[in-house]
Amino acid sequence: MGYPHPSHPKETVVLSKYFGDPEARSYAGWVKRGGYEALRKAVGMSREALIEEVKASGLRGRGGAGFPTGLKWSFMPKEVVKPHYLVCNADESEPGTFKDREIMRWTPHQLIEGCAIAAYAIGATRCYIYIRGEFTEPWQVMRAAVGEALANGALGDNVFGSGTRIEMVLHRGAGAYICGEETAMMNSIEGKRGNPRIKPPFPAVAGVFGMPTTINNVETLAAVPHIITRGAEWYKSLCLGNPKSTGTKLVSVCGHVQRPGNYEVTMGTPMRDILYDMCGGPPPGRTFKAVIPGGSSVPIMTREEAEEALFDYEGVVAKGSMLGSAGMIVMDDSTDMVYQIWRLARFYAHESCAQCTQCREGTAWTTKILERILAGNGKQADFQLLLDLSENMTGKTICVLSDSCAAPVVSGIQKFRSEFEAYIARAREPALAAV
């Protein structure tokens, strides 16, 4: 449902059904709503059968990369000769994205159940849930829920009498966007600075504490119980566009819309329906100018591109961007695009872990050049300079943080060049004081 708004008829409500329902937070309340049936069923199945079911469902990673979940699970060693770990990525920090927060706040047991099933499927007896430090309320809710699940036998040494052992540990982050990157997260759990690691080795071979590890996003894991209960065929049938994108997706919509919130849609839903019907369109008297559809790390779309796109992994790519985390930042015609692109570049400069030169220097210089343009001191040569920098920041670093900084800069120059030109020609009042 479009929390905090009532459900819209064009939504397909699966994961978000109980958002805003405080009773669903408790173990008893969750069981009353059909909770933990999937885990009971799962621990009676073989690990292989579970992985096959998730593979068949077409579920793909909801954190941003869209990697097939069942396939990721199948990379874990078949025999458990050393400890296997599951890590749940609840470090939701991508600007524009606020869906995992609602899953944890309202339906903590949905996530715990998904984690428990995934842990069993990959042969892990311990799951670390990495929750960003700023999420104080989700932390409290999750802590209470893990305690209740343990007291009721859904976790612990003998899950529902099956002999399966699953332990869940909540790990609190401490303010670092980069820890949402899976290898940085593993370092952070190990008590290190959150610097991403070079891959290979991939986590399934040598992950957290050097052991085979699978890392999944909150929303991905929360979808798993529904797949186990209702079947892969049902999940696969939730598809309006491309058969490679199945199921439902939580879309966090923020910025210049009348009803910002979390909407759950079937993959392939027209973006126009999300923007105009569910979110109520732009504020009165305004029109949309731009949409960043997948969290701040993806290319900016023009209004026309957004209005024509189908909302799934392939549909958004076809219109020049990426689905990412489906955190949609909507900007109307009052928005200064140069200023907002500078603000995003500043975000990446602040969050760079500074390991790789291209990122450490590139994000900082991109920010400074944009500052110069906004202060009225830009030059024509700055376009090429920004594009050259972005080129050197794409595909050349350990992780994709610097690529993410380049995405809004390159797409911004391509699609909103006249706004940059206006500052450079001093046809527009400087937005920042000269440094």
């Binding site: 600007p95 606020f98 700023e134 401490a174 190990e190 910002p260 701040s296």
Partner: protein
């Protein structure tokens, strides 16, 4: 444990430093040791415990954490300074974090920052008000973009803050 702790006491023997990891806090830390295969992995939670107890992470506390986790102080300091939520200097009684990343920026976060700086008396970002009551900082995305502008006052996450709401919110914090 007690031997290791005794040895630690020498290395952080700054006058008046009271160790954090004693009594219940020590037990809590030992409970943490069972949840991770290494002591090093308890570093982030241990630093949270220090900040909870002391309000910030001072140099002698870094030494104490290093001792109890069998790490070097330099290593611990490297980790402390990587993460923005650990305070390496004292802050006001109430610590206010306000989100100003793009989604909040386009919805008026800058006006919220101005109102907070004015009403708390902090005057500028990062400064503590003269009465010691508040410190206000600007932070990157708090992950509640649909509820612009969110702020965190200590552990209280407050959504949809506008400049008009600021005085009423601040009244709740003595």
């Amino acid at each position: 444990m007690s031997a290791a702790h005794g040895a630690g006491a020498d290395t952080h023997s700054e006058a008046g430093y009271e160790p954090v990891f004693v009594g219940g806090t020590r037990k809590e830390l030992e409970q943490l040791f069972t949840q991770y295969p290494t002591k090093q992995a308890c570093l982030l939670p241990a630093l949270w415990m220090v900040q909870e107890a002391r309000g910030w992470i001072a140099e002698p506390a870094i030494h104490e954490v290093a001792d109890v986790l069998e790490l070097t102080p330099a290593y611990v300091k490297g980790v402390v300074t990587f993460y923005t939520m650990y305070h390496t200097h004292p802050v006001g009684r109430h610590f206010i974090q306000v989100c100003t990343t793009s989604p909040c920026n386009i919805c008026g976060a800058e006006a919220v920052v101005e109102a907070l700086l004015r009403e708390t008396g902090c005057g500028e970002l990062g400064a503590t008000s003269p009465d010691g009551r508040f410190t206000v900082i600007e932070v990157e995305c708090l992950g509640a973009c649909g509820f612009a502008t969110p702020i965190l006052v200590d552990d209280d996450f407050i959504e949809s803050v506008t400049p008009e709401k600021v005085p009423g919110i601040l009244q709740r914090y003595a």
